[in-house]
């Protein structure tokens, strides 16, 4: 019987398997950031162990770093300690690190692909749930806990039970103005936040193949939001074109050998998935969340749902609580919801393509006077590229704040936070209570919806904006 893509990649990495025990998997790339690594390094020190493969390990600072005044010492002592600790650990154990101020610094899931380190057929882990992002290249990539970080540092392997496989096939074509983010938000609302539990998911079908690498990363990024262990997409010409020429991409004969192997990384025709879901992209529209988990979403053209309409008792209670927290009335058209802050950034939508898309909509327009637009590039390279293209000027002229690279308001570990009761439209991936700041209210949206919302001050799509006058 044939094998699925994820089974092929998994099999290639089994160091040891024994009846009744989890597989011992080799890890090709271990990414590290300041929040989840300190105790792992301390564990190594206590046991007198070293890092087995510093050459397969990469560290950066992203969660805590300020996006303003990044050339000054970090003001918050806890953040500063975590960042300093990572620097010391990287130096002590000989790990390549891209600290604040370095040209390659950025959100860990943005810099892997950007450096060309993320390649098809790899196993990639990081002490961070959105490691699933790297699956866009046909890699098995997932988040791990601090004890596992220590395990990978010491052994370059992980003990893992083989997950089940699922296929999500997306047929048709996404309508104009509907993005990968709308696609994945639609999927999560349809399947629920636990729909992917226990599975490695392969996204496939014409609508997925038509996505750019950035779009594919957005989809795989949010695999974790519907509970999947990992999400991946078979590598194709789009993938190879994205990787070719990047700093750590194979070169010359190595490139040819790599591509030859990568081309074999597809699901065999006779392979069987444990579970399959089929969606139609052509019926999708801009999608936004109204609640406090990513599965509580609705079409932008829809209304805030009435909890009484939910058949399942848990869903009903969940919806009631969410609406209370979000201060929303059932029946209110989503387009009438006023937003205080718009956040464009994060590992979901903080890449150059996202900033171009936002700038395209913002250009020649101004941000609503009661709304704040925060644009945070996912990495220093993205920031520099955007500035080369003049995108920063477009944002600033429209009245937006143009910031340094990092996770920023995605989770508010740095000073970029919502104040209690403040409402945001955010291109990030989590709308949990307090995620963007204590008492903050988050609506997850796509980049075009974020940009249009910043202009109108209420949840909007670009189609709602008046046409620009010819000058």
């Amino acid at each position: 019987m044939g094998r699925t893509l994820s089974e092929k990649v998994w099999d290639e990495h089994v160091v040891r398997s024994a009846e009744g025990e989890p597989d011992l998997l080799f890890i090709d790339l271990h990414l590290i950031h300041e929040v989840t690594s300190p105790q792992a390094f301390d564990g190594l020190r206590l046991a007198g162990r070293s890092v087995r493969r510093p050459d397969l390990t990469l560290a950066t600072e992203d969660h805590n770093v300020p996006t303003l005044d990044w050339d000054k010492p970090i003001a918050d002592p806890v953040s500063r300690t975590q960042v300093d600790t990572l620097r010391r650990n990287a130096a002590e154990f000989g790990i390549r690190s891209h600290p604040l101020g370095d040209v390659e610094q950025g959100i860990v899931h943005i810099i892997g692909p950007q450096l060309g380190l993320t390649q098809p057929g790899m196993t990639i882990v990081c002490g961070d749930s959105h490691t699933s992002t790297h699956g866009a290249f046909g890699a098995i990539a997932f988040g791990i806990g601090t004890s596992e970080v220590e395990h990978v540092l010491a052994t370059q392997t992980l003990m893992q039970a083989r997950p089940k496989t699922m296929a999500v096939t997306v047929n048709g074509t996404l309508p104009e103005g509907v993005t990968a983010k709308d696609l994945v938000l639609t999927l999560i609302t349809q399947t629920g936040t636990g729909g992917g539990q226990g599975y490695i998911v392969e996204y496939r079908g014409p609508a997925i193949e038509a996505l750019s690498m950035e779009g594919r990363m957005t989809v795989c990024n949010m695999s974790i939001e519907w509970g999947a262990k990992a999400g991946l997409i078979a590598p194709d010409q789009t993938t190879f074109d994205y990787i070719e020429g990047r700093p750590e991409a194979p070169k010359g004969a190595d490139w040819d050998a790599a591509v030859e192997h990568w081309m074999s990384l597809t699901t065999d025709d006779d392979a069987v998935f444990d579970q399959e879901i089929v969606l139609d992209a052509s019926t999708m529209t801009p999608f936004v969340t109204w609640g406090t988990n990513p599965g509580q979403g609705v079409q932008l053209g829809g209304v805030v749902p009435d909890p009484a309409d939910f058949e399942d008792a848990d869903d009903r209670i969940g919806a009631e609580k969410a609406l209370e927290y979000m201060a929303l009335e059932a029946g209110t058209p989503m387009r009438e919801v006023r937003v205080d802050t718009v956040f464009v950034g994060s590992c979901t939508n903080g890449r150059i393509e996202d900033l171009r898309l936002a700038a395209d909509i913002i250009k020649g327009r101004t941000v609503d006077k009661d709304t704040r637009l925060l644009v945070v590039p996912g990495s220093v390279r993205v920031r520099m590229q955007a500035e080369d293209e003049g995108l920063d000027v477009i944002f600033k002229e429209a009245g937006a704040e143009w910031r340094g690279a990092g996770c920023s308001m995605c989770l508010g570990m740095n000073p970029d936070q919502l104040t209690p009761g403040e409402r945001s439209a955010s291109t990030s991936n989590r709308n949990f209570e307090g995620r963007q700041g204590k008492g903050g209210r988050t609506h997850l949206v796509s980049v075009p919806v974020a940009a249009a919302t910043a202009v109108r001050g209420t949840l909007s799509s670009p189609a709602d904006l008046p046409a620009l006058k010819e000058i």
Binding site: L46, A47, Q82, G116, M159, E248, A257, A258
Partner: protein, 200 residues
């Protein structure tokens, strides 16, 4: 991880059930970047109360905690186990442990010995009547012992075979994997040369 065969140390009677991980170590103590030093947060909310058992000099140097049922419920924080170990505890005896706490204990080398509720009751009575008395936790024979003579307490405890084996051998997960180091080295030899590296 150090091997654990048998340990004899001062028993601490903690007459409470449902001691959750927030009580073992409150969230505000989790900010440290090391795996050590968490003893300052151990039972932080109770340490201000002079009648709390660990504040009595006879028990202060305790290393075997005897607690009521459902010890270690709540959040999955590994810090709860670290805090107990950092303080000096080598074993916790309880009629019932929360699953994640039990798992974390096994990983870190703290013995979570599950005994009959009556045994806990007898240990409490004995340790309170004889402050500073010791309790023995023998992993080899899976028994807990305390006291002498006709009133001596001796009973068996439950711990799963795999965890017991690892603790007896002093193997943490990393240690077990490193025992397969030959397999890892063999695998590394077969990796294609074009796979990326971060350091050249």
């Amino acid at each position: 991880m150090d091997k654990f065969t048998s340990h004899t140390g001062i028993g601490v009677p903690l007459r409470r059930s449902n001691v959750d991980t927030d009580q073992i170590i409150p969230a505000v103590y989790l900010k440290r970047v090391t795996r050590t030093g968490f003893e300052d947060g151990l039972f932080a909310a109770w340490r201000g109360d002079s009648s709390f058992v660990l504040n009595k000099p006879e028990y202060a140097a305790g290393s075997v905690l005897v607690a009521g049922p459902d010890f270690g419920t709540g959040s999955s924080r590994e810090h709860a186990v670290w805090a107990l170990q950092n303080y000096g505890f080598r074993a916790v005896i309880s009629p019932r442990f929360a699953d994640i706490f039990r798992g974390n204990s096994g990983k870190a080398g703290l013995v979570a010995a599950q005994v009959d509720e009556k045994v806990v009751q007898r240990l409490w009575d004995y340790l309170e009547a004889t402050p500073g008395a010791t309790v023995t936790v023998d992993l080899e024979s899976r028994t807990v012992k305390a006291g002498e003579g006709p009133d001596a307490i001796e009973d068996s405890f439950d711990i799963d075979d795999y965890t017991r084996w690892r603790l007896l051998e002093g193997l943490d997960d990393v240690g077990i994997t490193l025992s397969h180091e030959d397999d890892i080295a063999e695998f590394e030899k077969s990796r294609p040369s074009w796979k990326p590296v971060t350091i050249h």
